[in-house]
Symmetry: C2
Subunit: 323 residues, 2 copies
């Protein structure tokens, strides 16, 4: 199923979301509105809001509250992207110049804060404190994960357990919160919501591992940025962690030295070859597939519906996508 | 009244606050705990938590909830300081190396986000949605003010109205929210809380004008950083705005040119002389005093108490302080 087909059951809701999301940005302040326009033009795949709406749609028609949650989740995600670009000193995001390359790091930091503060006010308009806490705790996990990753630097000795903690925090937490709340809003059941939380957590992990794999084996034109970006900006991910674990000491030491310095294209080719040869790519693929299977299993007791079929297809999409 | 005397009525509560604040930072994550230690060592004057506690103490004994609000307000303030240092590329904060000069901008951005996310979760533990919204809206105003200021750049044509909007947002909003909630917690009265909100707003404005004045006429050793920092980092404040308005065209144009470029010590001396000669210093002082008088007048109907006397003295402290 392609992404368009996956989103079909909620396409009307997504259109309403898109309107609401635009409204949220509007501020009557020139610089904010200019940046908002830029961010809306550079819009991503809207996977997080889609997951909120699909989760809701498994147990009824998503209403205004689900659309609001979808918008809050996307707002938080957008804020972290803006700050990520500062952290990564990125110049391109989603094929357009990154925010910090047009305005500057200062404005980007403060705009990210502004979006977070906006999201906070919107969270307070939700109906239940449980939902508010679910989102706020996921935001806390998200920033903790980003912080751990930034601080880790290009530490080649990061363990698999540390890696999974980081990606759980930085990626799975918000996806998981969105699915949990989406399902709760229409089912009204904590048990159902718990299954969707687990679905979102496993999906998020599978998604991030697949993302990290793309940085090794993706096509630069298709993904819109050069591969090897993670290692160059100091992030060591699962394929390389595994390869370093499995390689003989001397071979691993040579790769560690490369990672430690400035990495040119030749260095990067060597790192890719090494990672493939030592089974890192294959291992990460297996892990992504295992989390994908776990995600699907969480929906076993959910009644069949177009939305459920889309959520299952979303799992395949997460691990098979080319960008 | 010196600051020590001002704080006397709430010194026990402040000690509990200090403990609670430390606890909030604890995370079991090395980098966060190291940064927390640093931030706690470089602690400021704790004016914001003191204002929450004093406001509460005018109508009863501050309880756990007031201490929590004090800690939330200080947490938000600390997060913005951390991001300010990134924005300003500061190397010193409160006499100690700034966070971004020890770790790096990346970690500073993400740590600020983490503190904001923590604050968000703590806000959700408060008793009423009104209080939550008061804090979240002040956080939104705060980040909007910071953003406007950063984007304004060293624009010498910023108007007084724009200046007051910026300092209202970036400084007065959080002070105002803290005073409002503090008073509400013990008085239970929205009318009382509204007076304290106005008190906090006017106090915040007076405080920020005084702060901006110190950057012109303060003693570098006493304030712990060189004067002229605002203009050098692209912020034009009230004394200079006023002087530029009042000066003959040619004289103002020459100063505008200086501000526009790299500013050396000689340039800065010229800007100070100009600002004094054209009455900018005097005008800003009068404005600070007018807001101070407005702040005090808000407490007219509040019964006399040591806490009330401290709040009145805090106004004098805000505009008379040397650092």
């Amino acid at each position: 199923m392609d992404l368009r087909t996956i989103l079909a059951p909620i396409q009307d809701d997504l259109a309403v979301f898109e309107q609401e999301f635009k409204e949220m940005f509007r501020s009557n302040i020139d610089v904010i509105d200019q940046i908002a326009d830029h961010l809306i033009r550079a819009k991503g795949k809207r996977l997080r809001p889609a997951l909120v709406l699909l989760s809701a749609a498994t147990h009824g028609q998503p209403r205004q509250d689900a659309i609001r949650v979808a918008a809050i989740v996307e707002l938080i995600h957008t804020a972290t992207l803006v700050h990520d670009d500062v952290v990564d000193e990125a110049t391109v995001r989603r094929g357009l110049p990154s925010l910090n390359s047009i305005w500057d790091n200062h404005v980007s930091v403060l705009l990210g804060d502004y979006l977070l503060a906006k999201a906070l006010t919107l969270i307070l308009l939700l109906d239940s404190r449980d939902m508010m806490l679910t989102i706020s705790r996921s935001t806390e996990r998200l920033s903790k994960g980003e912080l751990l990753q930034a601080n880790q630097g290009a530490d080649p000795d990061i363990t698999e357990a540390e890696y999974f903690e980081i990606i759980g925090d930085k990626t799975a937490s918000l996806v998981s919160a969105g699915c949990e709340i989406g399902a709760f809003l229409t089912s009204g059941s904590k048990d159902v919501a718990a299954c969707f939380r687990q679905y979102g957590e496993s999906l998020g992990l599978a998604f991030q591992i697949a993302d990290d794999l793309l940085d090794f084996v993706g096509d630069a034109d298709t993904i819109g940025k050069p591969t090897g970006n993670d290692v160059r900006t100091g992030t060591v991910t699962l394929p390389l962690i595994r390869a370093l674990q499995r390689a003989p000491h001397a071979e691993a030491a040579a790769i560690r030295e490369i990672i430690d310095g400035e990495i040119d294209d030749g260095d990067w080719q060597r790192v890719i070859e090494f990672t493939k040869a030592r089974g890192g790519i294959e291992y990460a693929r297996q892990k992504a597939e295992a989390f994908a299977a776990t995600a699907k299993a969480q929906l076993n007791s959910v009644k069949d519906s177009p939305a459920k079929r889309s959520l299952l297809a979303m799992v395949d999409y997460a691990i098979d996508r080319e960008k």
